[in-house]
C-alpha cells in the first residue's frame, strides 16, 4: 500500500488486517515497517504498508524505501491511496507509481466525506485514461472493501500488464536516446529502463551514485544530456519533467472531478418539512416519481403526452411528439440503414436468405439492442438526478411504510422504480440492499413490475381491439390492478414459503445535504450504468434476435417459408392444447407469447409478421382477437415470464439457480391460472 501522509493509509491498513499485523524496521533504517495479512476468497493476502511519501524520488529515506521495495520485492499489486478530499495534492504519488510498475490499483479514500461536500469523482473515466483499476472507498466506513479486494485479486492474477507511459513531449527524444545508451551499456539492469532514464534526467542522487559505480561513461553521458536539454529547451530537465506531470494531473482531474454546490440550510429545512411530512410527504414523493416516469416515457415514445394532445383535439402535435420521440427516431434510422444495405446487397446479387440474415437478423438485432438505449439512459438520468440531489433518500423515507406492506424497506423503492422503465436495471439495482433476504425478495418481485415494453404492448392491443375510450380506460386500469394484486400476492407467498422467518429490515438511510445537481456528474453516472446494461443485456438480446430470425424465417422446407410453416410457428402450434385452456385458440397468439420471451415488443412484431401487415395496430385488428381473448392475452403477457435478459440478470445477481427457477415457475403458474380463470369467467359472462 502506498500513499501520501494523511491519506488514510494506516486506517485502511488497520481495517484490513486488524489483529494480524506486526511492526518491524525497514532494513538498516529506523523507520517502522508494518506488515499484516488477511484472508479473502480463500487466498492469504500479505499487506505491506509502505512509508507515506509524496513522490518516489530520492529526497528522503522514505521515498527510497518505498520505491526500492516495489522494484526489488516485486509485489503482486500496489494499491495507491489518493485523498478524495484533496485529489490535486495527493495524486502525484499515484502517477509516480504508475510510471514504475503496471501492477497498480488506485483507490480514492475518504469518499464519504467527499460526497458530503459535493465532490464527485468519475473513477471509471480515470480508469480508462490510465488503463488501471480505479476505485472509490472509505477506509473509515469500510466502504468499497469488497470491490477493493476483488480488484486486488484480479490484478494479481494477471500476467501481461503494460506500464503507463506519460508523454513528456519535447523531452521524449532525449529520453529515447538515453534509453538506447543504457540498454547498450547494460547498466542499472534491475530497474525499469524508461523509469530509470527519467529519474536520471531529473537528478536522482541514489541512481546517480549507482550509475557512477557501474559505468562512469554513461554517467557522464547523462550529465551531458541534461546540459543539452537545458540549452536546447531553455529549462532544466527537472523543471520540465515535474511541470509536465502536474499538467497531466490537472487535465485528468479537471475532466473527472466535479464539486457541486450545496443548497442553503434554510432552504433545505423547508423542503424536508414538506417531503418528510407524514401525509404530504408520500404524496409529494409519488408526484416526483410519476412526473419523472411521465417525462421518460414521453421523451422515449411520445406516450402519454400524445394521448392527451389527441384527446384535446391537437392531433398534429400528438403526431409530432410520436415521430420525434427517441424510439421513433432510432427505429427510422435503422430502417433506413436496413433498406440501403438491402438494396446494395440485392444489386450485387447476394442470395435472398443472406440478405435477410444481414438486414433482418443482424441489423435488426443490433437495432433491437440499441432501441433500449434511450429508455435506459433516460431512466438512469432521472435516477441519478434523484440520488445526486439527495431527494432519493427522502423519497425512500416517506414511502417506507408503503414498502413495508410488501415486506421491503424504503431503500428497495429505488431499484423497483427502475422496473417501470426496464426490469434489467431494476434487478441490477438490488445490489444496494444489504440484507440478503430483502435482496432476494426484491429480485423476485422486480420482474412483475410492468416495464415500458409491456406498456407498449398493452397500449397497442387496447387501442386495436377496444373501440370506446371508456372501455380502453377500464381495461388498462383493470390490468394494472391485476398486476398490483399479483405483486402483493407473490410477496406474501414468497415470504411465507421461501424465506421462512423474515421481517423487512428497519430503515437506516442517510439524508445527505441537498446538492444542486451538476449535469456532468449526472451524465457520468447515467452513461456508465447504461454501458453496463448494454454489455450485460445487449449480448443476450442480440443473440436472441438472431435465433428468433432463424426460427421465424426457416421451416422444415428451408428458407423463405410462409410464417405458418416456420419452426417458430410449429413450436407455437404444439402449444395450442395449453393455449386453448386459457382461451388462446389460434397459433398466432401462442407464437406471440412464445416470442415474447425474447422481449415483450416482439409480441407485436409477431402479429406484424404473421399477418403480413406493417402496422402493429392494423395487424392486431386483423388477427381475429375477440375482446375476451385480447384481454387474456394482455394479462398473460404482463405476467407470464420476464424477457430473457431479465432472467439472465436475475441469475447473475442472485447467483442461485433455485431462485431463478422459483421466479419462472411462479410467474408461469400465476399467469396460467389467471388466464384460465378469466377465460371461463368470461365465457360464463357471455363473451366469446
Amino acid at each position: 500500500m502506498a500513499g501520501s501522509p494523511n491519506v488514510g493509509k494506516s486506517t485502511l491498513f488497520n481495517m484490513l488486517t486488524g489483529e494480524r499485523q506486526h511492526v518491524g524496521n525497514w532494513p538498516g533504517k529506523t523507520i517502522e515497517k508494518y506488515v499484516g495479512e488477511l484472508e479473502y476468497n480463500g487466498e492469504r493476502i500479505e499487506v505491506v504498508d509502505l512509508p507515506g511519501t509524496y513522490s518516489l524520488g530520492a529526497l528522503s529515506d522514505e521515498e527510497v524505501i518505498a520505491r526500492e521495495f516495489i522494484v526489488k520485492e516485486k509485489p503482486n499489486v500496489i494499491v495507491v491511496l489518493v485523498n478524495a478530499l484533496e485529489p490535486h495534492h495527493t495524486f502525484y504519488l499515484a502517477l509516480q507509481v504508475l510510471e514504475l510498475t503496471p501492477r497498480v490499483v488506485i483507490a480514492f479514500n475518504k469518499i464519504d466525506a467527499a460526497e458530503k461536500r459535493g465532490i464527485h469523482i468519475n473513477v471509471e473515466k480515470i480508469s480508462s485514461r490510465l488503463s488501471v483499476p480505479v476505485l472509490a472507498i472509505s477506509a473509515l466506513k469500510r466502504r468499497g472493501f469488497r470491490e477493493l479486494l476483488e480488484t486486488i485479486q484480479n490484478v494479481s492474477s494477471k500476467t501481461f500488464l503494460k506500464t503507463f507511459k506519460l508523454d513528456y513531449g519535447p523531452l521524449e527524444r532525449y529520453i529515447r536516446k538515453a534509453i538506447e545508451v543504457l540498454k547498450e551499456k547494460q547498466v542499472l539492469k534491475e530497474y525499469p529502463l524508461r523509469w530509470a532514464v527519467i529519474r536520471l534526467l531529473e537528478g536522482d542522487k541514489v541512481l546517480e551514485e549507482r550509475l557512477k559505480q557501474e559505468n562512469w561513461e554513461t554517467y557522464a553521458f547523462i550529465l551531458e544530456l541534461r546540459k543539452q536539454i537545458e540549452q536546447e529547451l531553455g529549462s532544466s530537465p527537472e523543471v520540465l519533467l515535474i511541470s509536465r506531470r502536474y499538467e497531466f494531473i490537472e487535465k485528468l482531474l479537471g475532466d473527472t472531478v466535479r464539486t457541486e454546490r450545496l443548497v442553503s440550510y434554510a432552504f433545505e429545512e423547508r423542503i424536508d418539512k414538506l417531503i418528510l411530512h407524514p401525509f404530504i410527504g408520500p404524496l409529494v414523493s409519488l408526484l416526483i416519481i410519476l412526473s419523472g416516469l411521465f417525462a421518460i416515457f414521453t421523451l422515449n415514445t411520445g406516450f402519454p403526452l400524445n394521448i392527451i394532445f389527441s384527446h384535446i383535439g391537437l392531433e398534429d402535435i400528438a403526431t409530432i411528439l410520436e415521430e420525434s420521440s427517441l424510439t421513433s427516431i432510432l427505429s427510422n434510422f435503422f430502417s433506413i440503414i436496413g433498406d440501403n444495405v438491402a438494396s446494395y446487397l440485392e444489386a450485387i446479387g447476394t442470395p435472398e436468405w443472406f440478405i435477410s440474415l444481414i438486414v433482418d437478423g443482424i441489423i435488426g438485432g443490433v437495432g433491437a439492442v440499441l432501441s433500449f438505449f434511450p429508455l435506459i439512459l433516460l431512466t438512469f438520468i432521472f435516477f441519478s438526478f434523484l440520488e445526486d440531489t439527495g431527494l432519493m433518500s427522502r423519497i425512500a423515507t416517506s414511502l417506507d411504510f408503503v414498502m413495508k406492506k410488501v415486506g421491503l424497506s424504503g431503500k428497495a423503492m429505488m431499484p423497483l422504480l427502475l422496473g417501470f422503465g426496464c426490469n434489467v436495471p431494476a434487478v441490477m439495482g438490488t445490489r444496494i440492499l444489504e440484507e440478503e433476504n430483502e435482496r432476494k425478495l426484491a429480485i423476485l418481485l422486480a420482474p412483475i413490475i410492468p416495464c415500458q415494453a409491456r406498456l407498449v404492448v398493452l397500449l397497442a392491443i387496447v387501442s386495436a381491439i377496444y373501440s370506446s375510450p371508456l372501455t380502453q380506460t377500464i381495461v388498462v386500469l383493470f390490468v394494472y390492478l391485476t398486476i398490483l394484486l399479483v405483486f402483493l400476492l407473490v410477496s406474501s407467498l414468497i415470504r411465507l414459503l421461501v424465506l421462512g422467518k423474515y421481517e423487512p429490515p428497519e430503515l437506516v438511510i442517510e439524508l445527505p445535504p441537498y446538492h444542486i445537481p451538476s449535469l456532468r456528474v449526472i451524465s457520468w453516472y447515467a452513461w456508465n450504468r447504461s454501458k453496463e446494461f448494454l454489455k450485460k443485456a445487449g449480448t443476450i438480446i442480440f443473440l436472441l434476435s438472431i435465433i428468433l430470425w432463424f426460427l421465424l424465417n426457416y421451416g422444415p422446407r428451408g428458407y423463405g417459408v410462409p410464417v405458418e410453416e416456420s419452426f417458430a410457428a410449429l413450436m407455437a402450434k404444439s402449444l395450442l392444447p395449453i393455449g386453448s385452456l386459457i382461451g388462446l385458440r389460434d397459433w398466432v397468439s401462442n407464437l406471440a407469447l412464445l416470442s415474447g420471451i425474447a422481449a415483450k415488443e416482439v409480441v407485436l412484431e409477431t402479429y406484424v409478421l404473421a399477418l403480413g401487415i406493417d402496422d402493429p395496430i392494423e395487424a392486431l385488428k386483423a388477427s381475429g382477437l375477440t375482446p375476451l381473448s385480447a384481454f387474456i392475452l394482455l394479462i398473460v403477457t404482463m405476467i407470464y415470464l420476464p424477457c430473457v435478459a431479465t432472467v439472465g440478470v436475475v441469475y447473475e445477481e442472485s447467483k442461485s439457480l433455485k431462485l431463478t427457477l422459483i421466479l419462472l415457475v411462479y410467474e408461469v403458474a400465476i399467469a396460467f391460472l389467471l388466464g384460465f380463470t378469466l377465460y371461463h369467467v368470461g365465457l360464463l359472462l357471455g363473451f366469446k
Binding site: 428497519e506 437506516v508 445527505p512
Partner: protein, 82 residues
Amino acid sequence: MFTGPAMRTLPLTQLPPGATGRVVSILARGRGQIRRLLEIGIVPGAIVRVIFNSVGPIVIEVNGARFSLGRGLASRIIVEVM
C-alpha cells in the same frame, strides 16, 4: 446498571423534535442492525438530536449528519434525555 440521580432514560422514539439525547444502550436484536447503527455513529455515549418525529421513520442528527431510522429500530435505542 447504576445510574446517577435524576437521569431520565427513554427510547429514542419518545423524544420530541428538537430534543437531544445521549445514547445509553441499544437493545440487541440481531447483529446486522446493530452493526449498521454503530457504523453511522450511534454508539453508547453518542449525542443524538431529533429532527422529525411523528409517523414513520424518525429523522435524527448524529455527528453532524442526518439519518432516517425505522421506528422499530429507533425504539430499541435507549437515550438519556439532556
